[in-house]
Every structure is written in structure tokens, then in C-alpha cells.
């Protein structure tokens, strides 16, 4: 086993069973089909894919909410199929879900953040220290006494992230954390994630279908039909506009515009990621 790897998954397969009207198993559907995923500690990984591509199933494996039918998955060195490591795995790889309302358990912000440490059986004093640190890390310390109902979507997701950080994970898996947020909320959450990656050196695995969110990732994986079909740096991925579109993905407008201009014979570099890059490249023509 590689010490620098937080996630080591090889040949992961997972099938859902489809039941007929009488409740008998009728068919099997592959949600993961031979996925290899290796993630180094401290990286920022993005996993892209359309709805139903298997990316959420993969995410749930990383937290041992699901275990592979075939293949092996080690999270922080623990085999996810070994039930005795369950709590350790969930402590190592925290998970943030899509719907902000359905993952907040406490009726007060601070109590929700304390939920994980309580489950870990930590002494009260230590729970408070962790809650304070976690809420400060996501910039929600001032709202600790509030009811979650009074928070915006972005703030709720930040609380959910704090709830995960309070368990001191090595890695956070975020399963479409911004899908239900408005642009302001999306920015808030992304900024929080980036800071955690840079300052706290927490490994981030961000699952999303918003392309703008992955431009600062170290590595991007694209999934389709339960397989990883593309992988590489954002620049490498974004230079393959047509391939991405064939997987029902999109690229940011600046990238698309650059690609179209290139098609028309303009001499622009591959995989332009932002407005600034495009304007610079055009000015240098």
C-alpha cells in the first residue's frame, strides 16, 4: 500500500438490483464498472459526469456507505469491506451531500457540528474545541447559536462542511454540494472548499456537473456509464470540447469561445480556462 495515497480503488464494480412488480429481482444495472481511482493526500480532485453516470455511487463507496461488489477500495489504508474499520473510514473521509436541508441533524448550528464528534465518543471539552475550530474554518462561528432554518443554502452547506471537519477527516467527499444553490451560495461553498484544501491540506473530492467549479482542481475525472472515461488536468480535459459534449458535459463559455475560434483557424492555445486567459491569448495574436 502506498503511504501517500488516501484513496486506492482498483477495479471497482457495483450493481443495483432492479425489482419487478412482485418484488423479485428482475435485472442488474451496473452503476460502477471497473473503476480505478487513486488519490494522493492533499490533492483537489474533481469528478464530473451527467446525472446517472455513477459519480454519486462512487462517492458513497468512499465513505463505505456502499461497498464494491468487485474490486478493492482502501481509504486511508482501511479496506472498506472490513466492518471493523467502518467508524475509522467515516472519520477519515467525511461526506457532504447535495440537499442542505436533509443533512443537518441538529436544531442549532453548533449542535449539528457537534454531532460527528459526539458519535466518535469524544470528551465534551474536546467536542467544543473542535466545533469552534470547524465553525471558524468555514466562517460560521458567529451563527453558532442560530437555527439552521434561518440560514441561506450556502450557509447551510458550510455548516454541513463544518460538521465534517469537526471529525478531523483526511479527506472530504462532496457530492454535488452546490447543485441546489444560487450562484452566490455556490461561490461561498467553493471558496470554503478551496481554503480547506490550501490551508488545512485536506484532500478534496468534489463531485459536480458545473464545469466552472473544477478549473482549480489538480486532477479531473469524467464518468459515463459507470466508467471513468477521461482523466487529466483541467487544461487537458477542457481542450477536448467535443468529447466532453458527447458525455453530456459542457465547458465554460470562455473555453467554448476559444475552441470555436481555434476551429476557425485562429492560433490560440489549447484548453483555455478563463476569461483572462482568453483575452491575453487574443491580445498576443
Amino acid at each position: 500500500m502506498d503511504r501517500d495515497k488516501i484513496i486506492e480503488g482498483s477495479g471497482l464494480s457495483y450493481h443495483y438490483t432492479i425489482y419487478d412488480d412482485e418484488g423479485k429481482p428482475a435485472a442488474e444495472q451496473a452503476a460502477l464498472d471497473g473503476v480505478d481511482l487513486h488519490v494522493e493526500k492533499g490533492q483537489f480532485i474533481a469528478i464530473l459526469g451527467h446525472n446517472g453516470s455513477g459519480k454519486s455511487t462512487l462517492a458513497r463507496h468512499l465513505n463505505a456507505l456502499l461497498t464494491p461488489d468487485e474490486g478493492t477500495l482502501y481509504v486511508n489504508g482501511y479496506d472498506t469491506r472490513d466492518a471493523q474499520y467502518l467508524l475509522k473510514i467515516r472519520q477519515s473521509a467525511g461526506m457532504v451531500f447535495q440537499n442542505p436541508d436533509n443533512q443537518i441533524i441538529g436544531s442549532v448550528v453548533e449542535e449539528d457540528v457537534g454531532f460527528g464528534p459526539e458519535n466518535m465518543g469524544l470528551p465534551t471539552k474536546m467536542i467544543w474545541e473542535r466545533v469552534e475550530k470547524a465553525l471558524k474554518a468555514v466562517g460560521m462561528w458567529k451563527r453558532r447559536g442560530d437555527s439552521p432554518a434561518r440560514l441561506s443554502g450556502g450557509q447551510k452547506q458550510r455548516v454541513a462542511i463544518a460538521g465534517v471537519i469537526a471529525m478531523r477527516p483526511r479527506c472530504i467527499v462532496l457530492d454535488e454540494p452546490t447543485a441546489m444553490l444560487d450562484p452566490g451560495g455556490r461561490k461561498e461553498v467553493l471558496q470554503t472548499i478551496r481554503e480547506l484544501n490550501e490551508k488545512e491540506k485536506i484532500t478534496i473530492i468534489l463531485i459536480t456537473h458545473y464545469m466552472e467549479e473544477v478549473t482549480s482542481a489538480d486532477q479531473v475525472f469524467v464518468m459515463d456509464h459507470g466508467k471513468i472515461v477521461m482523466s487529466g488536468s483541467p487544461r487537458q480535459i477542457f481542450s477536448k470540447v467535443e468529447e466532453l459534449q458527447s458525455y453530456r458535459m459542457d465547458v465554460p463559455q470562455a473555453t467554448l469561445l476559444a475552441w470555436k475560434l481555434k476551429q476557425r483557424g485562429l492560433n490560440l492555445p489549447d484548453g483555455i480556462l478563463s476569461v483572462e486567459e482568453l483575452v491575453d491569448a487574443l491580445n498576443q495574436l
Binding site: 456507505l65 467525511g94 436533509n102 443533512q103 464528534p117 458519535n119 469524544l122
Partner: protein
């Protein structure tokens, strides 16, 4: 909008009652309720009334709030009183056709009206000064011994607190689905009871589906955060008795003793009835 309205009866404040350990308040309420049913003398009524007034004053909750609870059960009180008046056998005072009002009936009716209203006021004092969360915490810690007789106290308390958290969300959702179905021409108002009940299907099915989806999501989220039932779980806000709680227990005990003595020795008939 709905989320803004605080659920339950809690009236935010910092009075000594607000700060008491919820277990003390639960015990106090229980003792008070038991004492209500031992009322038999004027002096015990006076003692209970005095206790209630003192509690209302130190709770710093406007008395109007306390009495609000009474309004909702007024009808129930009226019916109970009428039943008692007419159906208790004894010395008739008034006789109309086959119905008769007995002296015992009137006495009973008065007793019941007092008991019910004291019961409501007494428990409102508790709910108004205790957040739903503290209440479930109090129940969980206070009833911990029931684990030994295989009552899943932690799980029940967890269920209660989650239900409390989700009620406003589901209320909002109900509104939203209702608006969506009204936009499709659904009519929730007209027609007889059967049609009305049928017209609720487009509201209830989506609501159930959504409640199940949320429950499923929440279960996943709890599991992902290492939830594995009450075993080995610690508390962020453990309930620890302070001096004021011990004093409060003493006062409750004193009240209980006084009430017991009055019940045992002081059977005085209500003076305004012959």
C-alpha cells in the same frame, strides 16, 4: 415564512426557570400533575394556586401566553363539566325532564375544570421555558434507567428531536406542493367531505414521497457522520445539576410533602356548597 415562526410553545428568556435543568422541570411538572388529582380541600387549591402564580411570575413569561393554552381546550372543559354535572349520581338540586343536576355533580364539575386548567397552565410553564431540544435531552437523560428494561430511550429521543427539526420544513413543503397543484387546477376547498378527502391525494402522495426521500437522505447523512446509535456516544451539552437545580428539587419535595399532608388530614368540604 413558516420557518420564521418558532415551533412549539417556547418563549425565549433567561429567567431562573429557563435556566433550570430540564429534568428538574419535568419532575416538577409531574409532581404538580399528580398533586392535582389529590386535591380535595380548599387549602390544597390555595397552595397549588400560590405555586402556579409564583412560577408564572418568576418565569417572566407574560401571563397572556400562559392563558392562551386554555383557550384551545375551553370546549373540552365545557363538555367535561356538563357531563359531570348531569351524570354524577347524588342529591338532585335541579331536575329537568329526565336530566338532573346533583350537588355531587356540580362539585365534580368544578373540580374537573380546576384540574384541567391547572394542568394546562402547569405544563405550559414547562414548555414555555424549555426548548424542544432541552426537553428531549431531559427525557433522554432522565429516563436513561429505562434502557435496562429495554426501552430504546436514546433512539426515541433522537426521533423526537429530528421530528421537531423537520416539522417546519415539511410545513413549508406542504404549502409549496399545494400551490403547485392549485396551479394545475386542483381544488382543495369545494365539494362534500368525500370529494374534499379525495382532493387531498395530489397533496398527500407527493408529501409522503418527499418525507421518505428526506428520511432516507438524513439516514445516509447520519451514517456518514459515524452515527451508530446511543452506545459509546458522548454529549456536547451534557446535563449537569447545578446548585439551583438542587434547590429546586428541595422546593418540589417540600410542595409534594405539603400536598400529601393536606390530602391525608385536611379533608375540608368546599364551603360554598351546603
Amino acid at each position: 415564512m413558516l420557518r420564521e415562526i418558532t415551533l412549539g410553545q417556547y418563549y425565549p428568556g433567561t429567567s431562573i426557570l429557563h435556566r433550570l435543568d430540564p429534568r428538574v422541570k419535568l419532575t416538577g411538572t409531574l409532581v404538580f400533575i399528580v398533586s392535582l388529582f389529590a386535591f380535595s380541600s380548599v387549602s390544597s387549591y390555595l397552595a397549588a394556586t400560590a405555586a402556579l402564580i409564583v412560577m408564572i411570575v418568576i418565569s417572566e413569561v407574560p401571563p397572556g401566553f400562559m392563558l392562551r393554552g386554555l383557550r384551545t381546550i375551553f370546549l373540552l372543559m365545557l363538555i367535561t363539566a356538563l357531563f359531570n354535572m348531569f351524570l354524577t349520581p347524588g342529591d338532585p338540586i335541579v331536575k329537568v325532564w329526565k336530566l338532573q343536576i346533583t350537588r355531587e355533580g356540580v362539585e365534580m364539575a368544578i373540580h374537573m375544570a380546576f384540574r384541567l386548567s391547572y394542568l394546562i397552565i402547569g405544563s405550559s410553564i414547562m414548555t414555555l421555558t424549555t426548548t424542544p431540544n432541552q426537553l428531549t435531552d431531559g427525557l433522554e437523560t432522565g429516563l436513561h434507567w429505562m434502557n435496562r428494561i429495554h426501552v430504546p430511550v436514546h433512539e426515541i429521543a433522537m426521533m423526537m428531536s429530528i421530528a421537531l427539526r423537520f416539522i417546519p420544513i415539511l410545513m413549508e413543503e406542504t404549502n409549496r406542493i399545494m400551490s403547485a397543484q392549485i396551479s394545475r387546477g386542483a381544488d382543495f376547498e369545494s365539494g362534500g367531505p368525500i370529494r374534499k378527502a379525495k382532493s387531498l391525494i395530489p397533496l398527500l402522495i407527493p408529501l409522503f414521497v418527499s418525507a421518505f426521500r428526506r428520511a432516507n437522505d438524513l439516514a445516509l447523512a447520519m451514517e456518514a457522520r459515524g452515527y451508530h446509535g446511543g452506545d459509546g456516544r458522548t454529549k456536547m451539552k451534557p446535563l449537569i445539576y447545578k446548585k439551583r437545580d438542587r434547590v429546586a428539587y428541595l422546593i418540589i419535595a417540600g410542595y409534594a410533602i405539603v400536598m400529601f399532608l393536606m390530602w391525608k388530614y385536611g379533608k375540608i368540604k368546599l364551603p360554598f356548597l351546603p
